[in-house]
Subunit: 252 residues, 2 copies
């Protein structure tokens, strides 16, 4: 049995807590959250004072990136295994008072949606081999995909994740706004959105590229630019068109 | 029984032909293709001379956008129902010798993947009510989502589709390239890509937005810009960050 403490009960903390529910080898001892938790359907043992923390085998910090370093300095124990759960914060930002580690689930979590952790890659990093083993074991309790990744590579993974998650979502937002301007239903695009995401499981995105920029269809590009009145949308359309044309430039 | 001819046997033509296979009310009489068709697993009746065309209730032009107008002028019959299948070509580009119409399946088709037409929106347009009815009926034979959309709105829909399909796919391409630079496996991002696409069926993309630009996390943005050495990627990162910050600006 591995005993764990979750510190921070926002999106990541809650999902992690819920995921460990089904792991028979994991004992979720306490949840620390500075402010009062209103929603606690699983009846987690929640404390709001660091002095009330009980010793456990591992502590997970699930706080905003900016708070991780300071918070780790404040922990009232030494030499415990402390893992943060962030994609972009290096391991070395954690206080050296404890055994530093990272346990980063590569997924975007929403408040109200239960997540199937099984397919989510868990990126683990630790300062010593035995901690890495324990974190890998904890990862394997909830996911089939546990990978060792150092802070430098994790930073690059997180950057790539910004492109496929944050930026992609912003494109969805823009297309919804474009359709709403003309009272067209965004639902019409959902099958296309799904297929675009599905397709890359069968073919590399490089090969899957289609569209006016890819085939250098200047007439359609101009027609689209005429339709776009918002400067932000025009800037994105132009930047993408240029980037796609340069990516495939040599084949034209 | 409605008899149809498919003209052009590329991605769209093939998928349309295959989709009509299961429609008991549709008789696929001929396929016209200028060049010899090497792959014909369904044993379609393929002709390569327009003079061999037999009369049918409807003719579908599934050719590249640039060829539609000229091709429609060359058709050796008058007053037939001729529908093109393009998102961005106005109905009026078709020759006036025939009854002009549009039958646009809003999806991205790949060569080797069978598509479930059932969920694909079919956008129909015609010059007269009875043709619109026939096209709607044909659409309903293969899809549960048939919508009447005029050329102007279809153009906007197609523009929005470029954002969620072509541009999104280019973001996938960039993130794969970013990971390959560092020998990281693109598969790690696939669950996140899927969830990003799935999430908008539960919450609007506007509300789903997360990430450093959304929370104005200047430190992470700078870290990311330092990691990006390719000018194209930097241009996209900057344009997106600016657009996201402006979209949510008033809330900061």
């Amino acid at each position: 049995m591995i005993s764990v403490t979750i510190m921070g009960f926002g999106n990541v903390g809650r999902h992690l807590y819920a995921a460990f529910h089904n792991a028979s080898e994991v004992d979720r001892v306490q949840v620390y959250n500075r402010s009062k938790v209103m929603h606690n359907p699983e009846e987690a043992v929640i404390i709001s004072k660091l002095s009330e923390l009980q010793p456990t085998d591992a502590y997970f910090i699930a706080l905003p990136d900016d708070h991780i370093a300071d918070f780790s300095e404040k922990l009232p124990f030494h030499n415990g295994l402390v893992a943060h759960t962030s994609g972009s914060v290096p391991l070395t930002k954690l206080s050296g008072h404890n055994r530093r580690a990272v346990f980063y689930p590569l997924q975007s979590f929403s408040k109200d949606t239960r997540v199937d952790f099984n397919a989510i890659p868990i990126c683990v990093e630790a300062e010593n081999e035995s901690d890495l083993k324990m974190l890998s074991k904890l990862g394997q309790c909830i996911s089939t995909k546990v990978v060792e990744i150092n802070s430098e590579d994790r930073g690059k993974l997180h950057l790539a994740a910004v492109f496929v998650n944050n930026f992609v979502n912003h494109l969805y937002t823009i297309s919804e706004a474009l359709l709403n301007e003309h009272s067209l239903d965004f639902d019409l695009l959902k099958p296309l959105i799904e297929e675009t995401a599905d397709k890359i499981s069968r073919v590399s995105p490089y090969d899957a590229q289609t569209g006016p920029a890819r085939r250098n269809d200047q007439k359609t590009i101009e027609k689209h630019m005429d339709l776009l009145t918002n400067d932000r949308y025009r800037a994105l359309y132009t930047t993408f068109t240029k980037s796609i044309q340069e990516t495939y430039g040599k084949e034209l």
